[in-house]
């Protein structure tokens, strides 16, 4: 006897299906962990299993693979690629985790001091207690002081600092706050093409309108206000533009915005009453000569009160990149500027729903903004490690650009900053056709072939957005230098072979 439920679901039928679930969730994609990565993981598994079973390295499913490992150059994960953590940070965190180690004289005094201070700020002196939703107060104060030092003394109010579960969490929170309206009044959010696909995923999930502005590949991925204006004016016809997102240094493009450009963007945001979101997680990752990181906040305040008292802004930073590379901790913060007090109250309310960000990530962030000082025992080791990581990245950035530009059909802009290269690839028409045949976008087809033939996992440019008719891939510059050289060589060889095959 079938009895219909009160809510109309027929007896025995599934309640939760693609059709009955939240429709926005269906539109969420994230290429960085998308289908190509899933295939890479599958190949890795096969390589491991077969190796174990037959003791014959490099075979999978009976088809001999000319590689014994998959190189995952798809995700900005420095430690996964062999980068070492900063000793001081890990010492302090170990002490915080198991305070009995404070008796151990193998740990330097400055590490112990930091650990005690952090534990004093935690409930019950434990990382395991909930913290306040906005983050531990003394850590927010430390973050504010760090920002002040970084920005040449421009003051920062700890009340405007919100600690978060990585920068991503804070970015999504702000976007969530600002999305409203129906139909033609629906919030429009400006984001670059190419962009880091967290933004497009969040906008899809929130049902916000994505307003794409194109970066100029020909001039090193620079941002042009003319293009911002074009995109905005076009968007005004079908939505209400309210937010402008900038990633600086850029992901995937690596461009570092000039000071002039930042000023232009701020002026534009003021004219058009846009809320500025400045994603600055790569702020220490600047390599190219003549390039310098300018924080949006600093520039804003240096433009004088006409701007600094009006433009609404949120800046984001995290512990996942720079020289720390501690993605697994999910540490981060945002600083909000010129937010209406009632709006801020809503923000504070919203973050309290999730209880609090992970306390170890908060502790780590405290160390990042409060590193060893010149008069402290750990200072020289800390500086040495920090310098080494950044120098290494700079060298790899240079090497990558150099080698890719020797390949006919690959054009690579200088990697000014961040952790990626986003070279343009010329694909023969026959390859494009073949891709279509297989139901794949051409750069996905290219990257899949590269994965199957060379065991190198990249992310196709289509996952980040690109000008129609152009193709790219994003590769991280994170593998150790010797391995990176091999990877670059293999991609070069592959590209030539591929071009030949489809000529």
């Amino acid at each position: 006897m079938s009895r219909e439920a009160t809510n109309g679901v027929p007896c025995g039928a599934r309640v939760l299906t693609l059709d009955t679930m939240n429709p926005n969730v269906r539109r969420v994609e994230y290429a960085v962990r998308g289908p190509i990565v899933q295939r890479a993981v599958q190949i890795e598994k096969e390589l491991r299993e077969v190796t174990f079973k037959t003791r014959r390295p490099g075979t999978t499913r009976g088809v001999k693979k000319p590689f014994t490992e998959v190189i995952k150059a798809n995700i900005g994960d420095a430690h996964a690629m062999g980068q070492r953590p900063i000793t001081f940070f890990r010492q302090v965190l170990a002490l915080c985790s198991y305070p009995e180690l404070l008796e151990d004289n193998k740990f330097p005094e400055d590490a112990k001091k930091r650990a005690r201070r952090i534990l004093d700020a935690c409930g019950g002196h434990s990382l395991g207690a909930y913290s306040a939703s906005q983050g531990i107060e003394c850590i927010r104060q430390d973050v504010a002081r760090y920002i002040e030092r970084r920005d040449g003394g421009i003051s920062s109010n700890p009340d405007n600092i919100y600690l978060s579960t990585g920068a991503s969490d804070a970015i999504v929170t702000i976007l969530k706050m600002l999305v409203c309206g129906e139909g033609r009044d629906r919030t429009g959010v400006m984001i670059s093409i190419p962009q880091y696909p967290l933004y497009s995923a969040a906008l899809a999930d929130l049902g916000a309108v994505q307003i794409s502005y194109y970066l100029e590949e020909e001039s090193c991925w620079s941002l042009n206000v003319t293009e911002l204006r074009r995109a905005l004016n076009e968007a005004k016809q079908h939505c209400k533009p309210r937010v402008l997102c900038i990633i600086n240094p850029g992901n995937p493009t690596g461009q570092v915005q000039s000071r002039q450009c930042i000023e232009d963007v701020i002026r534009f945001a003021k004219e058009e009453h846009l809320f500025l979101m400045a994603d600055e997680v790569y702020q220490d990752n600047v390599y190219a000569d003549g390039c310098k990181f300018h924080s949006f906040k600093k520039v804003l305040f240096e433009m004088g009160p006409e701007f600094s008292s009006k433009v609404e802004m949120a800046s984001f930073h995290s512990t996942s990149k720079c020289y720390m590379g501690e993605c697994g901790f999910r540490g981060g913060y945002m600083e909000v500027i010129n937010m209406d007090p009632q709006v801020k109250a809503q923000l504070t309310k919203l973050v309290s729903v999730r209880l609090c960000p992970p306390v170890p990530g908060q502790a780590l962030l405290d160390l990042v903004v409060n590193p060893p000082q010149p008069d402290e025992p750990s200072y020289s080791t800390f500086m040495k490690e920090r310098k080494a990581v950044l120098a290494d990245l700079a060298e790899k950035a240079r090497l990558t650009e150099e080698i890719f530009n020797t390949v006919p059909g690959i054009t690579c802009n200088p990697v000014q900053g961040a952790m990626y290269t986003f070279p343009r690839i010329a694909l023969p028409q026959k390859a494009i056709d073949k891709a279509k045949e297989q139901g794949l976008v051409p750069d996905m087809f290219y990257c899949m072939r590269l994965l199957e033939e060379e065991g190198i996992c990249l992310v196709p440019g289509s996952g980040f957005g690109q000008k129609e008719g152009t193709f790219h891939f994003r590769m991280t510059i994170l593998p150790p230098t010797e391995k990176l050289k091999v990877v670059l060589q293999k991609i070069r060889d592959f590209h030539l072979k591929f071009t030949q095959e489809f000529s």
Binding site: Y98, V179, E326, D340, P360
Partner: protein
């Protein structure tokens, strides 16, 4: 400048927090600045936060985490061998051998998904659990928000409704608000130890008619804040109800390791579901939630949790995993979770101490719950159902009419006024029952009882002192 009119209406509709914890923080701040107050610190027991209340973490867990944080300690002889071996194994499961890398998959570290699945299988007497159905997350609040987000659709009359217990965990209502879901409360029966009564479920569903589209039922078992442990009969009835009414079962089982009531056992919804056989076992859609914010672990600040999905449509499951893709869960709590589900085994160097620490925790919890309950029932105008599990006691208050009037005049809930005064005068922060869904006709407060016994005595002494003063002030 943006105004509050420009803020997402759904965010605006999230109910305003009562703010006692902020008040507690402010008073703590004043005290530390040497303000003229009689007591030295604030005791905030309004959340299930054992470490804050003075309980120690488990040594083995923290030792393993320390070694994973600073692998130089792998060579530290003063740390037990099994600690170092476990840390070694866990580091090998991390990309690049570092806890600083992202999770290998957006659902967590595969080896830990496997450990969790094995734990569930053991716990449920062999009913298999597939690692593919385990999703690790940054805390059970996040886990729940993912599922609720998935369920949420519609606006106004077509908005998704979720049946929730009354009382419910104090952190739940805001979550429903954020995800745009309509709460449909079903009353738990206080005079039966907060038992779940199927008639109440039907009642809640009837109330939904014409108001929203009910599509899920949320269960807290063992109950937060009630401490009730559901028996097999109840669980079966709920499952049957969910099945016939087309509801997804969301079951939060965080207190499963802290059952102390006599003759009470925790039964997982999954186990009972499978024992019911077909058609239930292969059709009822179930999401079970657990976390490391348990009585024994108390690692609330690390933010670690997981869900196991049962009978969920594969496409929906994939969508769920996609949702987590841009923000994979933190590593450290996953490692703590692994230790929780896979503790030191008999024969391991750390097993004896680990077991002792756990038993001590269990004893303190059971004793405190009993002691506090007796104490409360001795206070005039206070009555408390005995808890059988979990971290909280949830006494009922009969406050003098004049106090109720005063609260009304001040524009606050009476239970909030009670807690506020208690905090200001005695430096102890309880949680008001209105956060758990109760109202002025049914005043309650909650507090976490897991703390060093001496601390509990202090809290109870101050409570009596405050409460008797209150009754003096407002004679009946």
């Amino acid at each position: 400048m943006s105004s509050v009119q420009d803020v997402n209406p759904r965010v605006r509709r999230i109910r305003t927090p009562v703010g006692l914890q902020s008040l507690a923080a402010r008073i703590t701040e004043q005290l530390s600045q040497g303000g003229q107050k009689p007591f030295q610190k604030v005791t905030d027991v309004s959340s299930g936060d054992p470490h804050r209340a003075g309980m120690p973490p488990l040594s083995f867990v923290r030792q393993v985490l320390a070694v994973c944080l600073y692998p130089e300690l792998l060579g530290e002889d003063s740390l037990p061998l099994d600690v170092r071996q476990r840390a070694q194994k866990l580091l090998e499961a991390c990309n690049g051998g570092s806890i600083g890398s992202y999770s290998p998959s957006s659902c967590g570290i595969p080896q830990i998904q496997k450990s969790v699945a094995e734990f569930i299988t053991r716990r449920d007497a062999g009913i298999p659990s597939d690692p593919e159905n385990i999703v690790l997350c940054s805390g059970s609040q996040k886990v729940l928000s993912l599922v609720l987000h998935l369920l949420s659709r519609g606006e106004g009359l077509t908005q998704t409704g979720v049946l929730i217990p009354l009382p419910c965990p104090h952190t739940l209502p805001m979550l429903l608000d954020e995800e745009g879901l309509t709460p449909l409360p079903y009353r738990l029966l206080e005079d039966q130890g907060w038992a779940l009564e199927p008639d109440q479920l039907h009642g809640a569903l009837r109330a939904a008619r014409g108001r929203c589209e009910p599509r899920a039922i949320y269960i807290s078992n063992p109950g937060n804040p009630t401490g009730h442990v559901q028996d097999r009969k109840t669980i079966r009835e709920v499952i049957r109800f969910a099945s016939s009414e087309g509801l997804v079962l969301l079951v939060e089982e965080v207190f499963q390791d802290s059952v102390f009531g006599r003759d009470k056992t925790f039964l997982s919804y999954k186990k009972v579901l499978f024992e019911m056989g077909e058609p239930y076992s292969d059709t009822v859609e179930l999401v079970s939630l657990h976390s490391i914010s348990t009585a024994r672990m108390g690692e609330c600040g690390l933010r670690g949790g997981y869900m196991e999905v049962v009978n969920i449509d594969p496409d929906v499951q994939q969508a769920l995993k996609n949702m987590q893709a841009p923000s994979s869960p933190p590593i450290l709590p996953q490692l703590a979770l692994e230790v929780m589900v896979n503790p030191p085994a008999p024969g391991d160097p750390s097993e004896k101490e680990y077991t002792q620490e756990i038993l001590r925790m269990d004893d303190i919890l059971a004793q405190n719950a009993r002691r506090a309950c007796e104490f409360l029932n001795d206070l005039p105008g206070v009555s408390c159902q005995p808890a059988m599990a979990g971290l909280f006691l949830y006494p009922r208050l009969n406050l003098p009419a004049q106090m109720l009037e005063e609260a009304e005049a001040l524009g606050v809930e009476a239970d909030v006024l009670f807690c506020q005064r208690f905090l200001e005068e005695e430096r102890v922060c309880f949680g008001p029952g209105c956060e758990n869904g109760h109202d002025r006709n049914d005043l309650h407060v909650r507090f976490c009882v897991l703390m060093p016994p001496a601390a509990l005595e202090e809290v109870l002494t101050r409570l009596r002192s405050f409460h008797l003063r209150l009754l003096d002030q407002f004679p009946h």
